[in-house]
Structure formats: structure tokens, C-alpha cells
Subunit: 334 residues, 4 copies
Amino acid sequence: MVGQQFIAQLAGHPWFRITWLGASQRSEGHKYRDLTWRLPTPMPEEVADLTVEQAAPGRAPRLVFSALDANVAGEIEQAFAEAGHIVVSNARNFRMDPFVPLLIPEVNPDHLSLVPAQQQAKGWSGAIVTNPNCSTVFLAMALAALRQLNPTAVSVTTLQAASGAGYPGVASLDLLGNVIPYISGEEEKIESETKKILGSLQNGHVEPHPVIISAHTTRVAVVNGHTEMIGVRFENMPSREDLLNAFTSFWGRPQQHHLPTAPAKPIIYMDEANRPQPRLDVERERGMAVFVGRLRPCPVLGYKFVALGHNTIRGAAGAAVLNAELMSAEGMLD
Amino acid sequence: MVGQQFIAQLAGHPWFRITWLGASQRSEGHKYRDLTWRLPTPMPEEVADLTVEQAAPGRAPRLVFSALDANVAGEIEQAFAEAGHIVVSNARNFRMDPFVPLLIPEVNPDHLSLVPAQQQAKGWSGAIVTNPNCSTVFLAMALAALRQLNPTAVSVTTLQAASGAGYPGVASLDLLGNVIPYISGEEEKIESETKKILGSLQNGHVEPHPVIISAHTTRVAVVNGHTEMIGVRFENMPSREDLLNAFTSFWGRPQQHHLPTAPAKPIIYMDEANRPQPRLDVERERGMAVFVGRLRPCPVLGYKFVALGHNTIRGAAGAAVLNAELMSAEGMLD
Amino acid sequence: MVGQQFIAQLAGHPWFRITWLGASQRSEGHKYRDLTWRLPTPMPEEVADLTVEQAAPGRAPRLVFSALDANVAGEIEQAFAEAGHIVVSNARNFRMDPFVPLLIPEVNPDHLSLVPAQQQAKGWSGAIVTNPNCSTVFLAMALAALRQLNPTAVSVTTLQAASGAGYPGVASLDLLGNVIPYISGEEEKIESETKKILGSLQNGHVEPHPVIISAHTTRVAVVNGHTEMIGVRFENMPSREDLLNAFTSFWGRPQQHHLPTAPAKPIIYMDEANRPQPRLDVERERGMAVFVGRLRPCPVLGYKFVALGHNTIRGAAGAAVLNAELMSAEGMLD
Amino acid sequence: MVGQQFIAQLAGHPWFRITWLGASQRSEGHKYRDLTWRLPTPMPEEVADLTVEQAAPGRAPRLVFSALDANVAGEIEQAFAEAGHIVVSNARNFRMDPFVPLLIPEVNPDHLSLVPAQQQAKGWSGAIVTNPNCSTVFLAMALAALRQLNPTAVSVTTLQAASGAGYPGVASLDLLGNVIPYISGEEEKIESETKKILGSLQNGHVEPHPVIISAHTTRVAVVNGHTEMIGVRFENMPSREDLLNAFTSFWGRPQQHHLPTAPAKPIIYMDEANRPQPRLDVERERGMAVFVGRLRPCPVLGYKFVALGHNTIRGAAGAAVLNAELMSAEGMLD
């Protein structure tokens, strides 16, 4: 799913052009048009006639996007980085590596300065830059907006969409009319990745943010869109207006650079009592914004609210493309 | 939905027999078999030939169950209580009345002692006894099991089923492939009702339990079964074994009296990582148990776990029937 | 739903501009932005500040689109037509009126010649032009493509989406994980409307096409997109290639005139064994094409195939807008 | 799924007791309680401690039920039959074998007389008896009820449940809010199996019934229950009352013998305009009856109606158990 979403995001991109496709042995040697396309938009013509090659450096261009499965991504991405490629990856293998930026362009663009140290430490002429796990992105962006208010503890319950599990992913017998209150490894990722993303650079490494995070993840019968119920405790209780202002005024380098896929505003606050909702909101802003609503006091933690994001766009392929756009705008792909 | 579930619960009941049906003007005068029956089990023969009468005292038996809408329940239930009827109600109107028991038989059977005070204060020869809101029941039972460990703060996110909204309830366009992150009035009910249920009787009134509760409620595409993600802070951090023991050893007067619809164990702890789930578990134990799983440390509050219950059975009609059974067993219906 | 879809279709339209909104008493006097918007695309800015007026002629422009409920559409549409308005209606009230075109621009543009007779017979200075019921459109377009092969009998089973029932429409309790094998009045509409649409003009009236049609309609848990399983008997058994050619070469006056919302090809034949599918295909071609697949012999009738269309676009609001575009292109709105 | 349904059907059976479980290598050697149980009812205690053995004759009892995958069922079932076992199979491999009964006890119990010929022709001391494909059963039972009215052509569109595809079966991304208008091999099975089931024994083999059948199969977002829209042409047009009588008076040897899992009436006709429905009806009669409704004239074929059945019970495991019960009642297991 994420690989196809990459192609959908990059089709007609003003800066990048898809010239090469690499995949596992099963798809190798096939024209892309002969593979099964599972998105509701048509397969872009510009990739239909590309032949899928082995996922190995060699004929690949310098910038490669990786939607590889975690069980092969580690080795293959390293081979590309060693061979001089800039690997912009959605895989989890290198996310927590101390030399690898876990990047959200609006949140921690300064973490890109890890790249030279990464190249030196690993002896790579290329580099690896990662984006977070889908459910992490939306939480991390919401918390980044609130960062100056000093959040100290966060409780989040996610209601995650089927597309987050890839294809074939969750069996329909498990999801029809059901809730699965568990996603393997997901809670750990949210708890650790968010702290790294919000962390500060100190002496060439990322010092994780001290906020304490507790995640509870569930899968629900939704196609696209992770909904997150978030409670936050702050060092000093801010006013509701402080939080509202923080959400609505939040922006960052993607907006400053007018990056091609950057949303006009990274966070959109919705006033209606029953929003955001996956079916009504997740496709807005081309899936690149985080939608927040229902900000109100929480008797236990201080404040609570809802966040929603598109898991295969802002939570995966779109996140990686925005990462590459930022690197390009800052001269790192020259 | 709840009215029909009442009939399903009471059909073939060893102690109670349905002899009278009262409803709003729209149904008045119809044979029950001519109304639309929406449960997957067939309409019990024993009610099919009853004629629906006006919901007013007079020809009604002493014990009446109420599944009335809140907009009419207040007035009608009071009229029945004044006329000497014991009203076992699922409506919310009297739940927070200081003289009305908000009863879960395993949790606060002693609150039934409010009834004489109620009769005196209101001047009623009958009485009203209520059961909690559906999403409250499962939380309150789980917390009651943990009560001796001194919970001080609770955060709960609910994923509630469509049947909780009655019929026609939520439009399919709003729920298909969607999450609605808001249910009107529901969070307030959970927060206030739970404290009353867990509260202690002092000088003839209920002193709410001091636990702080924060609720976040959502509606998901499930037919029956509310799933709740719960985090709890305790006065002194207990061991995981303490909590497990508390859940598995929990029982109460329904089990002691062997009440007809009492589950053998009010709380069933499930060890599988991905349970409980509505589709697989909610109909077990005839819908009368609370299923708990995934007990694990919570970095923010101390412990977190999942609870699941059948919203129209243990969360509504079954709750009321169990209330009546307890009152019968304790001689209050004689 | 259809009213909102009208606004979405007309927003930014190159020929038409929304200048007036009329509705029932409940919405009258409200800014449109204060009403609940239920589409996943944002409410177009150009209507947000319009104030909803009474659905009556007077301040309305000459061309009005009607998405009125059938229980009020008859009287109101007639009042508009009498007052000189061109009413392009999605309501069913006048569809079978012998003087009213039941128009699909690719199929029966010549039926527009009923309008002068309509004006004379009814004494209207305006006129009413209707589009078919949503499930009729896709069948009628498929059959129109096959018309020259002389179809004599048609059996169709529909699997219709929730949005076809409007809002709130079908209760989620009725549709979640379910099939409802009945839609009131729908089978009769398909059977009669299709014959009128395919009928020929003779002496100023429409002679229904002699094809015999049997419809079986069901509601399924789909948001948008009616899927239809169609079997057809022909006077003389054509070859499969004849049918394929008929589908793929089908086009009409909307394509000839390059009408703004006309699809490039009205029928798109899909070769994949398991297509078309609502979730993957219904939004393609801006919802204005009919997708056909699985053409194969039928042992009983001769041939069978699948058709799919977007019920609130090509099946309702988009159909009406295309009707108005055709009328404009042919000078009927001058 | 079907294997687990077999166990659920056989648990507590008055005539049969599960003493042995055989499976593929992956499960071999495990206690059954250690395998994943996916039914909403608890795993029966009587099988929990059985150890799964290799699916080969030897230690197995004489009567074995087979829910094997078609890719291994052929070889394994033959080995059992050769070794003297009575194999009551749900697999498709031998269904169309001229010596193997394709049995529905109410429809063609006389086909059991193929068994001696089978044993002689194959040189087996045991035997194989099969039940039909799930979507075939409900059609064949409905047609059997109408057999004396001489049906000559049948058109059926199925809306099939997810559980019919086994586990994991259909990906939730393919089924959520969607219709898949194709099920591999299913239409051919319905068309050929039904003719064999309705066929008559002539000189020791089954002469297929001459009725012409056209099937169109789809998968919908339903957990259990195949809905079928059926049109039938008769040699001489009967009255609607003739058909109604045929449905309601239909019964057979299972009812005559009072077989333990036989429904009181094999076909239940429902008068409500919008019934039968999977969610409301499929679990009734313990999943063993076929529910029929909406009988009305069909302009193309003569009559049309809806049929519904439980695909993993009457369409699979329950069908096989009823086959074994019939064989037992008729002395074939002695």
C-alpha cells in the first residue's frame, strides 16, 4: 500500500520524477502496469511502463524512497546508503538509530544535521533519513505545536485504519463489525519515536524529550485515517486559548519554503463538536494536514482533544516525500 | 432496542413473567406481534399476543421495567412510583437523584438501602431503582474489582457500538467506515455516574467516590459491544498480580444468591494479547460479564487495560433485570 | 445528500453560477454555512454566505435545480415551471409524465423535443426536465450502448449504496454487516423508467422500448456506488465482441459538445476479473462514467455483466447538471 | 473456519463424539487448545485436550469429517476411503465424481445408493460422501421445494459473506465498504453442482437435472450468511400460491427421522417485505434452515424471490454433520 501511495504522491511532482522501481524478487522483471494496483485513483501513466528491478543499488538514481518491509529494509537500505544513495525511508529499521534523523519537517528540521555525523560514523557516502510510524506522526505534530507550553505527560488511544496494516493486512473476518484492541509493536513505537522526534540536538545526538507517553492502540473498521484521543498534562496549566493559539499558529519550514506537498497549515482545528472524522476529513488538504478538534479540559491530565491524520499519506508516503522536499530545498540533494 | 432486549431477557425468566406492556401513543393499542422486532432472536411467543397499553399506572403489575426515552421517563416513572409501583429503570432521569440507587448488584448492593429514604422523601408508596448508562457499567465494574487497591484517577476512551444509540440511532452514512469522536452527554455520564456507584453510604446518602475520572467517548462501526481503554492511577502502586487477582476473584451478591441472570464470574480476564474483541466475546456469558484483557503498566497513570461489555444486555436491559432479581432475592419485591 | 452534491457539482462550474438557494421551512433564513455539510470535500466558499430562501419562484433565477423530496417536489416544481423557470429535477414526481423528458444526455437527447409540447399542454412558460432514479441510470446507459443489438429481456440485481437513501437514510443497525433485500419502490422505477428512457419519440410522445425488465434491488454496506449484475437476452445472439465494441464505442451528444461535466467516455469497460468495485472505481472520471466488466455468456439469457456507477453524482446531481449543460449547449436556456 | 465450525457442531452431539483430530503439518502435535479459535462461542472443552495428529488413516475412527483444503483433500480423503473410513467431506474435490453422492439429506437422500457402486468402482472399503459448495446448498434446497413445478431455467445473484472465504480469506481493505463482483470458481460450482443434486438416479448414476442455471456471485461486507436473489422459469407458469405451498410444505428424511441437527422445517418463508436479512435471520434455527422471502412475479422468468442461509453451518459443517446423521439413521455407519 505504501509503495503505491509513494507512486501516487510522486506522479506529476514538480521536483522529482520516478525513473526507477526496485522490489522484491516476486515482482522483479514485471512491467509495473502488470502488477495489481489497489488505489482508487488510476495508476499514473508515467510508471506503467517502468520495469521493476531488483531492490539493489546500481542502476538506481541517487534519491531513493523506501517502502520496504521491515524484514528486508535494514540490509537493503544500508546497501543503498553505502553505495552513495540518499534513502528516504518509511521503514522502521533505522528510525531509532542515534545517527538517523526521524524527521517531520515542521517539527524537527534541525535533526537533518545528524546526516554528516551519520555518514562519518557509518562510513557511508549516502545517507538514510526516516519518517515516523503512521500513528506517531499525528501525535508528534500535535505535541510539537504545544511544545512551548511544556507538556510533561501524554496519554493517547488510537483508532487505526485497516490500510495501516498494509495489504492483505487484517482479515476482513477480524475487522468487520469489530475492534481489535492490539497492534503488535505499535504502542512501543509511539512511545519511543515521539520522544526522539521532539528531542533536542545536543553535542551531535538527539536527547529525547522528557515527556512521558502512554499509548493504547486499536484497529477499527476504517479504510484510511487514524483517529487519536489524546490527553496532555503540562508543567503549568495553560489556558484553553493558549492551546488553541498553539494549534492554529503552528507552522514550520515546509510552509516557509512553500514545499510542493506541504499543507498551507500543518494543523487544522475544527470547531464542530463531532469532528474530525475519518470519512469526512481525512482526504482534505491532500491528506497532508493533521485535523484537531474537541479541545477541552481533562480532569486527570489537564487537557484532552482528538487528532486525525491520513495514515498512508501524512503517516507514510507523503511524510517521506515531504522529507525529501525539505532536503532538496535545503540543498542536501545537490 | 432496549425495550426489545428487556423482553428477550425476561422471556422464560424463572421468577418474572411479562403480563403487561406500556408504551407511547404511537404503539398503543397494537398487538406486540404487529410491531417491528429488530433482534436476531425470534420474538418470544409469550409477548406476541399482549396488547400494548398506555404507559401509565393502573392495570400495570407492581414491578415494572422502564426503557422509556429520557424525554418522557421522568414524568412517567414518577407517576408509577407514586402509584406504588417498583420501577426498575434504564432511563437516565433519576440516576443522579440522591435518593435513587444507581445500582450494579455486584458493586453497590448496599445502595438499595436508599429506597426507604426515597419513599419517605418523595412521598411515594412505590420506588425507583436505576441502572447506569451502558458505557458506565463496564468501567464501574472493573474499578469496583480494584476498589480495595485505592484507585485515585482514571482515564477511559470508549469505542461504542451502534446499538447504544437506540433505533434508528446513528445514520449508516455517519458510521460506515468511520469513527465519530463524540457522543452527546456520554462523557459527563461516565464521569459522574461512576463516582456515585463506587461511592459509600453515609448518613443515608451516597458520598461519591473521590476517584477522578476523565472520559473520551467515540462511536465505531460495531453492532453490539462497547470496548473501553482504561488507565488507572492508584494511591500506592500495586503489583500486576494484585490487579489480576482483584479481577479474577471479583464477585458479589448476584453470585452469592445465584441470581438467575448473574454470570458465574462478573469479570473474565482474557490472556490473549488481542482480546477481548466485540465480535468474538461480547455474546459470551449471555452478555452479562465484563471481559478484561491486556493488563500492563501505563507510564503515565500506573496500569492500563481493556474492558468490553454488551451494551444492550449488561449495559441496559440485563442490568435492570439483575437489579430486579437482587431486589427480589433480598425481599424487596414481596 | 443530493442537494449538497448539486452544490459540489456546480461549484466552479464554467457555465453556471449558484446565486440562489431555496429550501424547506426548516432551513429557511439560515446562511448556508450554518447548515450541516456532510460531504468529504469542504463546503464551497461561493455558497457559504448565501441565505437559504423559501423554495418558491420569485427571486430565483431562470434555471433551477431541484433535489426536493418527492413529497413536496410535485407542487413546488410545478409552481416554478408555471412561473417561467426551467426546472432540472432529480425528483421522481414528473419522471413518468408523458410530456416530461426523462433525460440521459448520451441516451435520449431527442426527448428534449417534448418540452414545447409540455409547455403547451401544461400551459407553462417554464418547463421541467428530469433525470432518472440513480439505479436506473447505469442500467439504461449500458442498455443504450447495446440498443442496436436489440435487447429483448433484462434481469438486473442491484447492490445499492447507503447514500442512495439520502440522510439520515438507513439506520446503521440495519446496514452494518448486513444486506437489506428490498428498497421500497425501487424495482418498479427501474422497470418503468428504463423503458421510457430507451423509448422512441412517436407523434410527440415517447413510446416505451419493448424490452422486458426484471429488477431485484438490495441495499449493502457501501457508502457510494451502486453495483448492478445484469443479464440480457437479445433478439439474435450477438458475439461477445459485438457487445464489447458496443460498450467501448458508446458515446453521445455530451461528448460531441464537450459538455463541461461529460466524461470522455460514458462507459468504461474493465478487463480485470474482479472489477468494477465501488471502493476502487466509483470516484474515477469524477463519478460521471459507468464502469462495466465481467462480460460473459449467460446460460439463461445470453450475456451477463457487471455495471457500477456513482449514485449521487451520475445517478443524481451530476446527471441533472449534465442535463442542464445539454440544454444550454442546444440553446434551450437562452 | 469450517474445521472449527465442525467442532462447534459436533460438541455435545447425541450420536457422535470427537475422539481424533487430524490436520496439516503446521498444527500437528499441538493440543487443540493451543491453536487459535476464531468462533464467538467458546472452544468446546471436549476437544481442548485432544492432540492434533497427522491427517492420515491409522489411529482415526471409522467416521471422519473432512474440512480439508481442496489442494490436499483429494489425496488424503482417498487414502482414508481406501483404508475403510467413511469420509463425510466438505471439500470440493470429489463432489462432481459420478460415483460420489453430492448430498443434501432433504433433497436427494436416494443418491446415497451410489455408495456401493463407488466402493466397487474405486476398490475402496470405505467411502466418500460430500456436501455442496455453500452457495449451492441454499439454491438447491429452494429449487428442490419447487421441483414438482418443473423449473426450467434459473438466474441467481449471490451476495456472499466473508466467512465463506475461510481464514484469513478476504483482506479487510478489499471488503470494507465494498462489493467484490467475482468469486473464483464459484459460479461454475453453483451451475454444475445444483444440476447434479437435483438429478435423478438412472442405472446407478446421476443424470443431471435439465434445469439451466446462470449464477452471478459477489462478496459483500457480511460476516455470516449468503443472500441469493433468485429468478425461476417454469415449464408451465404455476400460481404464487403453488410456490408458497411448495416452500412451506417442503420437508424430507431428516425431518422424518428427527435427525438431531435437522431443522423442524428446512425452508422458512418470511412474509415481511424486507426479509430475510443476514444479521437478523441467519443464526435462527441454529443456522440449519433456508430462509426465503419476497416471492413475486418476475417479468422475465416468471417468479423471483430471496433466499438466505448460514454459509458455514447449513452451507458447510452443518451440512456434513446432517449427511452423517442421515447415513447413521439409515444404517450406513453400522
